[in-house]
Amino acid sequence: MALSPELCKKMYKDMWRIRLFEEEAHRQTSLGSVVGALHMYCGEEAVAVGVCGNLRDDDYVLGTHRSHGHCIAKGAKPSEMMAELFGKSTGTCAGKGGSMHIADFSLNMLGANGIVGAGIGPATGAALASKMRGTDQVSVCFFGDGAAARGTFHEGIGFGALWKLPVIYVCENNQYQQWVPRSNVAVLDSVADMAGSYAIPGISIDGQDIVEVYEVVGQAVERARNGGGPTLVEAKTYRFHGHSLGDEEQYRSSDEVDSWKNDRDPITLFHTVMAHKAWLTEEEDAAIQDEAKTEITDAVKFAEESPYPTAVDVTTDVLAPEQEVA
């Protein structure tokens, strides 16, 4: 699908929705309303939005511990996500998952995941299901560069390649594995180079450039839908905040962070592209940002006004309620 002005505006808005959701979640944490770990996606918005811009509602997405962006890009409601962060019963997971486990099965968003690299096998399994049923659904698995060191990466991609499954492996290489620069713990600079071991295409792209993300992943999605098997896409990106809230960030300089924020902000870069093409007026830009702000403000209001789950909810959802088989 070629990039149209309408699609660009939608994607631009989604990037703002993610950015503002994260900043508001950060603020709500400092207010004490949001508890638990918060892994912010700011700076990486072009990856989630550029990838999901190619997906249908029935395509599968599996995420990471840093998945608010993936969820919003796949269509999850910020109101229910915020309620989940608040631990409310109206949350996407009824308050049982929290930030690292947000899922929306109505959108085939099969879940963020608190274990590094743990989505790769399940994403490949969902792709196996699509292939067995003869649908042309694809699966996308997001993971970080740290996951490429795990056995699940090798085993999952090995299966995907072996059976030519419709899955796109999207590595968000934000260059740090929690506090450790990739160069300290990995021999290969590029995760995409590992694709050769599985005889699948491996492509490294600029994850700050949403147009490149959209176009390269679009080709991978088309290949997967048409039976051409998996692709490993490495999007080189950067997180503007620490690994999680409270990270002192002694492993990187403020100059480095500032240079990415000032020169490589994916929203600013996309704005420049759209302005250059005359696809976005100043009025439209202002309206998009206003709408996104209103949506996030409403999300907080929804979360605040929602009830907490109660003691009776503790023991539900362990197993399906009806265990009788027929």
């Binding site: 949350g91 879940g111 399940p122 399994g125 999952g156 265990q323 088989v325």
Partner: protein, 323 residues
């Protein structure tokens, strides 16, 4: 009704379930060649070639794919060639399959069966003989099933395949070739229901897996000592049929709990503690556990014979609680 081996009964269950439901598929190491390592998947490749997958040696991948396929609406039956190897997929079992429904607030369903050939078979020592039922009993969201007869093997596997939640299906290798009567066609044994294998009035022996048959043999010998022994086959360790077990113990006043795994923090320990809590007023003697000593499985037959509990351990324990 026909006579089948334990593995033949499992095979029949798989064939029937795959015929019934197109979402059921089989995945595992060597499951096509020679009909699988234990002949449990025999004939499936010929009959359902699109729904059986022989995999690389990659247990985390096998179970991980199973989780994803299950969440996407399929019903995978995965085989871990030796249950010892499930430790290579513990994240997929414990953090993924078990917790998905809960973590997603009830959105996810993981209808996956993980078949686990376990226990001593040939003498293969410490990395090919484990049982570890209690590891998985301890994880909420998992069901743990242990059939002891060909009939229950078929009925429980059919239930496991139809369950909307993950089932760890323990198959004791030493009883794969045991034979028994198995009902034809639709034969369902519900998960979570124990079976009274033999009725008796004096003592209750609660048994797991192959210890059921050994307890039945012990019960015959104990008749000579004047004891009328009831044998309860737990069949499901999680959920556990506390009602049937407690009803029996409250009636007899004596309880021996036996399994082949180490009794230290083992399945028998949970059952013994449960009996102690619920049946204290009826008990005329302390609850006794039988299990293996807390050692890795040794190789030499001369060593291994001291590890796996046998009939004599049951008769001795019953005599002790009755004394």
């Amino acid at each position: 009704m026909k006579t089948l081996t334990f593995s033949g009964a499992l095979c029949e269950a798989l064939h029937e379930e795959m015929e019934r439901d197109e979402s059921v598929f089989v995945m595992g190491e060597d499951v096509i060649t020679h009909g699988g390592p234990y002949k449990v998947t025999d004939g499936i490749a010929e009959r359902f070639p699109e729904r059986i997958f022989e995999t690389p040696i990659a247990e985390a991948g096998i179970v991980g794919l199973g989780v994803g396929a299950a969440m996407a609406g399929m019903s995978p039956v995965v085989e871990i060639m030796y249950m010892d190897f499930v430790t290579c997929a513990m994240d997929e079992v414990v953090n993924q399959a078990a917790k998905m429904r809960y973590m997603t607030g009830g959105q996810a369903s993981v209808p996956m069966v993980i078949r686990l050939p376990c226990g001593v078979g040939r003498l293969l020592a410490a990395q090919h003989s484990q049982i570890m039922e209690s590891w998985f009993m301890h994880v909420p969201g998992l069901q743990v099933v242990v059939p002891s007869t060909p009939s229950d093997a078929k009925g429980l596997l059919k239930s496991a395949v139809r369950s909307p939640d993950p089932v760890l299906f323990f198959e004791y290798k030493r009883i794969y070739t045991s034979k028994g009567e198995v009902p034809d066609g639709e034969h369902i044994v519900p998960i979570g229901k124990a079976d009274i294998s033999r009725e008796g009035e004096d003592a209750t022996v609660v048994a797991i897996g192959p210890m059921v048959q050994k307890s039945l043999e012990a019960a015959v010998l104990l008749e000579d000592d004047g004891y009328d022994v009831e044998v309860v086959d737990v069949r499901s360790l999680s959920p556990l049929d506390t009602e049937t077990i407690c009803e029996s113990v409250n009636r007899t006043g004596h309880a021996v709990v036996c399994g082949e795994d180490s009794s230290f923090a083992g399945a028998v320990s949970e059952i013994a503690a449960m009996i102690g809590e619920n049946c204290f007023d009826s008990l005329k003697a302390p609850v006794t556990r039988i299990g293996s000593p807390h050692v890795p499985m040794p190789f030499s037959a001369e060593l291994a014979k001291h590890v796996v509990p046998e009939v004599a351990n049951v008769t001795e324990a019953v005599n002790r609680v009755m004394a």
